[in-house]
């Protein structure tokens, strides 16, 4: 990984740095890589749209096969899935997955222009519904349905900031107290500035190979990717989410029993043949700290309504039974969209390979990532050793 920060430099620099580090860690030469899978950034112009090729050129064009993928926050997981598909099909032995971004200050916003048939444009123009507005709506629902408090949301950030103290790649290493968070201004009630992740520059990369190839290099007990989910929702989806103005209607068609977010974890559990009780560590998308609580339930770590208890009894801190966001999460990193899902995988890889230093979760053997992006993208990667 390239550390997360805010420098406004060329995203290619961050991506190349991360890629070279990943190759070095894996003791793989760029010339051995049969496939480069890039995660796209839409904020860096054309080079970002063809991120895979842009990174390949920076590393040195050598004829390697390439793909570039965009799925909003799930872009990195999609890029990883593409690489995995190439390997599992036998088309290549070794692939490099890389994503990087340079992001502007302030709210993420649509491209210039007038597009009255673009729901993402309309939600800004007609309603003023920024991303934090959606997070605020869901946080208010937790308060209404489960009695969640603003202190609960602050405690998620406190926990994650404690983890981030030991992560040199995190943009923010400061440990926060509840008072610090409650002193920060409201952005979208009930959520405060320090509870909503910012946007960052960053780059992350992983090298993946077939099991046979790893063995041939003498890696006997590799960290394996057991499952990847790239779910879309099912119709009708009754939960309002980015970037829509309205939900589907359930007037005459019943929603699936399993909600969209729940379906993401379910997919990887089924593919890997395990259940949530088998998971040792998780990296989830805390775009807002309240969202992390939703994920505890959506991934099946506890029943609906119990997430606040799980947080408060220390279960999801390093040292607890199911540490969540040992990296520090988005709260400590800020979001570098195409790199973020890859960064989640990096953290779990280090956890399972016992290379997480002071963030180490003891005996971590199964880890899960989760995030969701705009327009119906949901992703999860399950790693095990």
């Amino acid at each position: 990984m390239h550390p997360w920060g805010k420098w406004g430099r060329n995203f290619v620099e961050y991506g190349t740095f991360a890629a070279r580090k990943a190759l070095e860690d894996a003791q793989i030469e760029w010339s051995e890589v049969g496939f480069i899978s890039g995660a796209i950034t839409v904020r860096c112009g054309y080079p970002g749209y063809v991120a895979g090729s842009t990174m390949a050129r920076a590393l040195g064009f050598n004829g390697t096969q390439v793909a570039s993928s965009y799925a909003a926050c799930a872009s990195g997981a999609t890029a990883l899935s593409v690489a995995r598909g190439q390997i599992l099909s036998g088309a290549c032995d070794v692939a490099l997955v890389v994503g990087a971004d340079t992001t502007p200050d302030g709210f993420l916003a649509p491209n210039d222009g007038i597009r009255t048939d673009d729901t993402d444009w309309l939600r800004f123009h007609m309603v003023g519904a920024t991303n934090p507005v959606y997070f605020g709506l869901h946080a208010r629902r937790r308060m209404e349905m489960y009695g969640a408090t603003q202190e609960d949301f602050a405690l998620v950030k406190v926990k994650n900031s404690k983890h981030a103290v030991f992560n040199e790649n995190a943009r923010f290493n400061k440990e926060y107290a509840v008072e610090d968070i409650e002193a920060s201004p409201i952005v979208s009630d009930p959520l405060r500035l320090l509870e909503i992740c910012t946007t960052s520059d960053g780059g992350a990369a992983v090298v993946v190979s077939s099991l046979d190839y790893a063995k041939s290099l003498g890696v006997d007990d590799p960290v394996r990717i057991s499952a990847i989910a790239l779910n879309t929702p099912t119709y009708p989806d009754p939960l309002i989410d980015l970037p829509y103005l309205a939900t589907d209607s359930s007037a005459n068609t019943l929603p699936d029993e399993i909600g969209f977010k729940e379906s993401i974890g379910k997919h990887v559990y089924e593919e890997a043949g395990i259940g949530p009780e088998d998971v040792d560590v998780a990296e989830v998308y805390d775009l807002a700290s309240s969202m992390e609580l939703d994920w505890y339930e959506q991934l099946g770590f506890c029943q609906p309504g119990e997430a606040e208890s799980l947080l408060r009894d220390g279960s999801t801190s390093i040292g607890g039974r199911i540490p969540v966001n040992p990296s520090g999460g988005l709260g400590a990193f800020g979001e570098a969209v195409p790199a973020q899902a890859i960064a989640q995988v990096c953290e779990l890889n280090w956890q399972l390979a016992k290379k997480a230093g002071k963030r180490q979760v003891e005996d971590a053997r199964i880890g899960i990532t989760a995030n969701q992006g705009l327009f119906g993208h949901g992703s999860s990667v399950l790693l095990r050793r």
């Binding site: 916003a109 009630d189 309205a246 209607s249």
Partner: protein
């Protein structure tokens, strides 16, 4: 900053002349009616009977391939499913007032259509005045204005009975 000429192509001649002589027009045509009791303009799938909003931007029901959409006026009254605000001015393409007053946004559930629709809450309400379950009706309000026009969007307005009862 959007100017009237940029948006002229979107307007029909459904205008009302107001007291201060500014012409009121929807900021984007086709999403709501402008009348004494305004309605959201939605779509209704003919075969499945499900609704969508906006009328041309709903997702399809995979169980009803090639279903056709007819234009319908959606129910006017709903219940607040959740609410929040935007303490900072949203970026373009939102046109923020100067000076900016935090806009309040509600996600409102329509009972008949069984769907939740976002919209600003009319001026004069803060998040402290709202509660989940509160009944609101759709109306129109000013999104922004220039020297000639007042551009409208749909908004949610708490029903008078809610105010009398007060927030629980």
């Amino acid at each position: 900053m959007e100017t009237a000429p940029d948006l002229c192509a979107l307007l029909t001649r459904k205008e009302t002349v107001t007291k201060d002589t500014k012409i009121e027009v929807p900021a984007v045509e086709g999403f709501f009616t402008v009348e004494e009791e305004s309605h959201l303009i939605g779509g209704r799938f003919k075969k499945s009977g499900n609704y969508c909003f906006p009328k041309n931007l709903g997702g399809s029901d995979p169980g009803f391939p090639e279903d056709e959409i007819e234009e319908v006026l959606l129910s006017r009254v709903g219940k607040i499913w959740s609410y929040t605000n935007s303490a900072y001015p949203p970026p373009p393409p939102f046109i923020a007032a100067e000076p900016y007053e935090p806009i309040v946004i509600a996600a409102v559930e329509l009972e008949q259509e069984k769907m939740v629709i976002l919209g600003q809450v009319v001026n004069g309400y803060s998040v402290d005045d709202l509660s989940v379950g509160m009944r609101v009706e759709v109306t129109v309000g000013t999104l922004y204005e220039d020297s000639e026009y007042r551009y409208l969007t749909w908004m949610w307005s708490p029903l008078p009975e809610e105010e009398k009862q007060g927030k629980n």
